[in-house]
């Protein structure tokens, strides 16, 4: 009988010296990376931000005008990742950048390359675990690679943004649009209010910009994709209202969050059995 361990390549001696002087420096760097990992976990688990802040962030052409755009640099700093600037590059595409990268210092054994996996994953986790939205985060330049800044391109997945940010009012508006063909966009406001949806013109306008960004409307009429998403929203029993849930300030969670990915669990279970 054999153990699992015996199935690996067994060797007589290690190929390194454990008591070398370099090792103490390396362990110090490894210890620092463990500390940063710990700060990231703590910050993500103890930070609660309203979904409305993400809405404002996505809708703002200048992220410094949105509360979340100002919170992100503080949060990145709390995580021990350096002070990042956040800039909107395009619809659903943002750039995080820092010239004072703490992560680059964690790899004294690496001469050059793109090393900021910790930062990329932290940004990804921030949006996923705080807001439930999916992103792709890619490091596009790195101080360790000789660049002046560490830069990260953050692309949001439209599906998850729509699913997380649309509320019951959006559902009602799309419902109206799906049953009416609007020839003159100037009549939109009155058509919507005839359906007992009362919104400030600026609010309606902002929502229409959001639908347009996500290809849910063409002009002021619902698109094919919009109809399909309306079906999904109609089948969702939630009556959440993004506006009612507005909380302007970042707050500390009162209780330790229970991390249970029931969505993922169900899929995993289904795949395993």
């Amino acid at each position: 009988m054999y153990t699992d361990g015996e199935k690996m390549e067994i060797i007589e001696e290690f190929g390194f010296e454990e008591d070398s002087i370099d090792f103490s420096d390396a362990m110090e760097a490894f210890g620092k990376s463990i500390l940063i990992e710990s700060k990231i976990n703590y910050t993500i688990e103890h930070t609660s931000i309203s979904r409305n802040m993400l809405w404002d962030f996505i809708m703002a052409s200048d992220t410094s005008m949105a509360p979340l755009g100002n919170e992100i640099p503080k949060i990145m700093d709390q995580m021990g990742l350096g002070t990042h600037k956040v800039k909107r590059k395009d619809s659903l595409m943002y750039e995080f950048s820092t010239s004072e990268c703490n992560v680059c210092d964690l790899y004294p054994e690496v001469k050059e390359g793109f090393v900021c996996h910790i930062t990329a994953e932290a940004i990804h986790r921030f949006f996923r675990e705080i807001f439930g939205v999916m992103t792709e985060v890619e490091e596009t330049s790195c101080v360790k690679n000789g660049d002046g800044y560490c830069k990260f391109q953050v692309r949001f997945q439209p599906y998850s943004i729509i699913f997380n940010l649309m509320d019951s009012v959006d559902r009602e508006i799309l419902q109206v649009l799906s049953s009416t063909f609007i020839e003159d966009c100037d009549t939109l406001s009155s058509i919507v209010s005839k359906a007992d949806i009362f919104l400030e013109p600026s609010d309606l306008n902002e929502r229409m910009i959001f639908y347009s960004t996500f290809h849910l409307v063409e002009g002021c009429n619902i698109s094919g994709s919009g109809r399909q998403f309306l079906r999904m929203l109609q089948s969702n029993d939630s009556n959440q209202n993004r506006r009612d849930a507005y909380e302007p300030k970042m707050e500390q969670k009162q209780e330790e969050p229970v991390k249970k990915d029931v969505f993922g669990d169900a899929f995993e279970d289904a795949f395993n059995h």
Partner: protein, 189 residues
């Protein structure tokens, strides 16, 4: 360059799991081996029960982390001759996280964090369920390229959730309903 030691910590590991989509399914308490993990500039070493073992970093294909209660783990996929295998390491969340990132750096991988394929499969399943079947819409909503759409469709078909023409099977529809119920429940809370 001489081989330099970079990290060392206590861990548990499971060696040589046949390569497949879900290495986590083979985890059982009996298989864990307690020992010490050493990371150097060239290799991962394991010390356990008076034995020493080695995995060259050049053989590593991919590293992922996961949480299988109560353990935080990383799954290392690597090649041996003409086959692929998995190795699982468990330790504190921070230790395995740091190890994963350090291995990614040492193996020259560029930082690019995306959703796991499973997440994309879930989203595509939901899109098909609600009637979004045209490729341009799917590409836009999931933010993925055309060849990636084909890949995810293929995975769903392989798993029996869609048929040859991309329609949901009975199993696919049942799973989509279950996922939708969970999404609704999560959005209420």
């Amino acid at each position: 360059m001489s081989e330099k030691l970079i990290a060392k910590f206590a861990a548990s590991f499971i060696f040589k799991i046949p390569y497949g989509p879900n290495p986590v399914s083979v985890i059982s308490d009996k298989r864990w081996i307690d020992g010490i993990v050493y990371l150097t500039t060239e290799n991962l070493y394991f010390s356990f029960s008076d034995k020493k073992s080695r995995l060259s970093l050049s053989k590593i294909i991919d590293v992922k982390n996961s949480y299988v209660p109560p353990r935080h783990i990383i799954i290392i996929s690597y090649s041996v001759s003409d086959r692929r295998e998995h190795l699982i390491i468990s330790s504190t969340r921070e230790s395995v996280g740091s190890l994963k990132h350090r291995i990614l750096v040492l193996t020259g991988k560029k930082a690019n964090v995306k959703e796991a394929p499973g997440e994309l499969e879930k989203k595509l399943l939901m899109l098909i369920y609600i009637g979004v079947e045209d490729i341009p819409s799917i590409k836009f909503f999931l933010n993925i390229e055309g060849n990636k759409v084909s890949e995810v469709f293929h995975m769903l078909k392989e798993k029996g959730y869609t048929d040859d023409i991309g329609k949901l099977t009975y199993e696919g529809t049942s799973l989509a309903r279950k996922l939708k119920e969970l999404e609704s429940a999560e959005s209420v809370h």
